[in-house]
Amino acid sequence: MLRFIARRVLETIPVLLIIATATFFMMRLAPGGPFDTEKQVSKEVRARMEAHYGLDKPLFEQYLLQMKHLLQGDLGPSFKYPKRTVNEIIADAFPVSLELGCEALAVALALGLLAGMVASLKQNSFWDHFPMSLAMLGLCVPTFVMGPLLISAFALHLDWFNAAGWFFPRDRVLPALTLGAYYAAYIARLARGGFLDILHQDFIRTAQAKGASGARILLRHAMRGGLLPVVSFLGPAIAGLLTGSFVVETIFGIPGLGRFFVTAAFNRDYFMVMGSVLFYAVFVIVLNLAADIALVWLNPRLRFE
């Protein structure tokens, strides 16, 4: 297993290098720069600001310099927010996205697994059709519709929650539901499929013949195999959930990383773009690796090779 992990970690080096290089050059090829503003600054002022951040050097030299800084873990300063470094901004915003992501994940797993298991046990009954229809709906309603709908109902009409913000425990509820609902729907359908697959296998029939109860069969015998599709989905899904959702963070006014990820590109905040892209990339790679390890552990037919 150690060899497997070591190989996967080594594989990430060229992947990250390619991502960083592509990000650097794509960002620089985009028209417009960080110091383009509606009221034009004088040529001298622009030149001084570019010099301050080293943007006056030849492009390839800038590239090498940035790679060197990245290797040292220095993501550089933000142009848009001159008093902060990209490291500080990420350190500030990521915990918020992480918390929201964990809460949404809890919602998604609780609702999704429950619905999926019930549906697979009661196949083709009301308890199958009803949650699966809901799940289909959950998949089809995008978060930018779901969020304002929930706010309209629960914040503006019933006045149970604030319409936006991230201060009080109750501020977590609507964003977690909005973000979690989509993943819950996905997980419900995957779990149903996974469990149905397992429940029709011979070893389950054997267990049933031996008189094991439904709950015992589900939890003891079918759980491991039934979860397989969910687990392989969870790797990238968790990365997406935990690093922040631009839409949900914008709708609910949440100071998370997802917003920086998008606005940095609009602002041509070069170092911020690079920092958030790499941060996201590392996160996805690590979680995919974790998902692969979990899969092998769950499925005895797979081996670390």
Binding site: G32, E38, A93, G165, T250
Partner: protein, 534 residues
């Protein structure tokens, strides 16, 4: 945790409760939805209105703006003298003006602040606001390096003298701008080089100011909290205990926060909401004009737009009232001049005529009778719903009145700025907000060497008139020169004025002492909250 919060909330029963605004009213906390995260709250680096609204709570200049009419009120200076030739201003500073660390605010502090703002390495975008002072421009451009030669002098700790290279009758209106605020240079030095943009002296815990409030918390994309300053000289007239700035940048989210009672005021709402509020809840919206003009620029370097008859024809065949009443719909005023009417008593007499018949005639004279053989032009705007609607309206009006075709082209903000800067467009959207109350803040942008010209248009007589106006202190003479300059503009038509912006601000009835004004200047000393009105 999400689930447990949900369960707790359902069990505890989240019935009707007090809104944050109701609680804040009693605590005299003014809650402001400020529409974006400030890039910086250093008065010499943070430049937009988002930054400004926070900066004026933390710093105070020599004079401050009366929010009712923008007239000068004493600030750090209790009085000032202007020499007979209008080229020397002497400010007498008050004894009790203190920084929030207890140090007195001295004339020396102002000189050091202006030195910092003009340092070439700082790259301050608003350094030009100090250019009326002798040699300020030369120092900022690095032509001279001895700051002694620049027109700022501390005669004694409480007397500041400012020498100008030419009389600038609107200087007091410039001085209310953030760029003239003092900064605590001694404190800035503690955190790094004074000409380093990244010097972290403005973070919470570091910042020292001299305004009515002090910085308590600054969490990015979350909030800024300022509290009443115990050292501010006029603290007995400050009635708010604190101000809470929320940086929500989505207009929709901010408007929902307003409805759910989380904030007292929202800077701006989307046009369709403006119409809704004006009709159904007029007590919650204040829609007031700004010193900002919406216009289209012509690229005059290429045919057919290098022919002024074509430009005139295009400008004359637009129905501006139809645009403001049926398209933009936020109460804007149709604009027939570049400078908004009554800018410090100046109203341009030369105006764009709206006359489709004459426009067709002009187009025919230019060689395109009934629009025949007229090339298809492209209308460039940045990607915003409202700009698109206006561009479509122009497209239709020109088709109907002149029988010509234009195509629409939208670009993402920075791409659009880049295209405009390179004059890489046919007809491009633009807008300009005045920095101070004087026609020069508008008319200067079309001078040949202005970086904001972007049209390729250049007129020696226009440049001469603008320079002549800047060099005289006699208001009647100046305005006469500006009238002539604006007449050239309306004859040559390098831009088409469309409308004067309004600011549709949502504001709760409990906010007292807040006044609309053309520069949307806030003066929090005047504001207090009346809980009985919410």
């Amino acid at each position: 945790m999400g689930l447990s919060a949900l369960c707790l909330c359902l069990l505890a029963g989240c019935g009707k409760r007090q809104t944050l605004v109701e609680i804040a009213d009693r605590a005299q906390q003014y809650r402001v939805s400020n529409s974006d995260e400030p890039s910086d709250i250093d008065p010499q680096i943070g430049i937009g209105e988002i930054e400004h609204d926070i900066i004026v709570s933390l710093f105070e200049g020599l004079i401050s703006a009366n929010p009712k009419d923008l007239s000068p009120l004493p600030g750090v200076a209790e009085r000032w003298d202007i020499s007979g030739d209008g080229k020397s201003y002497t400010f007498h500073l008050r004894k009790d003006a203190l920084w929030s660390n207890g140090d007195p605010v001295t004339a020396r502090d102002f000189v050091e602040s202006y030195h910092r703002l003009l340092m070439p390495a700082l790259g301050a975008q608003y350094a030009y606001m100090l250019y009326p002072a002798t040699n300020a421009e030369a120092f900022n451009n690095g032509q001279i390096t001895n700051f002694e030669e620049v027109g700022f002098k501390a005669l004694d700790p409480r007397t500041l003298e400012i020498k100008l290279h030419s009389p600038t009758p609107y200087l007091l209106s410039m001085i209310i701008h953030d760029s003239w605020f003092p900064v605590p240079v001694k404190v800035i030095k503690e955190y790094g080089a004074i000409d380093d943009r990244a010097n972290p002296w403005t973070l919470a815990g570091h910042l020292v100011g001299n305004g009515p409030f002090v910085l308590r918390e600054w969490r990015m994309n979350s909030h800024i909290l300022v509290e009443k300053s115990p050292t501010y000289w006029d603290r007995k007239n400050v009635r708010l205990n604190s101000i809470y700035f929320d940086p929500e940048s989505s207009y929709d989210t901010a408007e929902r926060m307003f409805r759910s009672g989380q904030v007292h005021t929202v800077r701006q709402v989307l046009p369709y909401k403006v119409a809704y509020y004006l009709k159904n809840q007029p007590g919650l919206i204040n829609d007031y004009p700004l010193l900002t003009t919406y216009f289209y620029k012509f690229n005059v370097t290429k045919p057919p737009l290098n022919d002024k008859r074509v430009r005139q024809a295009l400008a004359m065949s637009i129905d501006r009232r139809a645009i403001t009443e049926t398209v933009s719909r936020a109460g804007e005023m149709p604009a027939y001049t570049l400078t908004p009417p009554d800018t410090a008593g100046y109203t341009a007499t030369a105006r764009v005529r709206e006359d489709p018949a004459a426009a067709r005639q002009l187009l025919a004279e230019a060689g395109y009778p009934d629009g025949k053989n007229f090339p298809t032009l492209e209308l460039l705007f940045n990607t915003v719903e409202n700009h698109k609607a206006i561009a479509e309206a122009l497209q239709q009006m020109w088709k109907k009145n002149l029988n010509i075709n234009v195509t629409l082209h939208n670009e993402e903000w920075k791409v659009y700025l880049d295209s405009m800067r390179r004059t890489n467009y046919d007809i491009g959207r633009g807008g300009w907000g005045g920095d101070y109350m004087d026609p020069s803040t508008f008319l200067d942008i079309l001078m040949t060497d202005s970086g904001n010209n972007e049209t390729g248009w250049s007129n020696a007589e226009y440049d001469r008139l603008c320079r002549a106006a800047a060099n005289t202190g006699d208001r009647a003479v100046r305005y006469a020169e500006y009238q002539k300059a604006e007449a050239i503009l309306m004859e040559e038509m390098p831009i088409i004025p469309i409308y004067i912006y309004t600011r549709p601000r949502l504001i709760r009835p409990s906010v007292k002492g807040w006044y609309p004004n053309l520069l949307d200047q806030q003066n929090y000393k005047f504001i207090h909250l009346d809980p009985t009105l919410d």
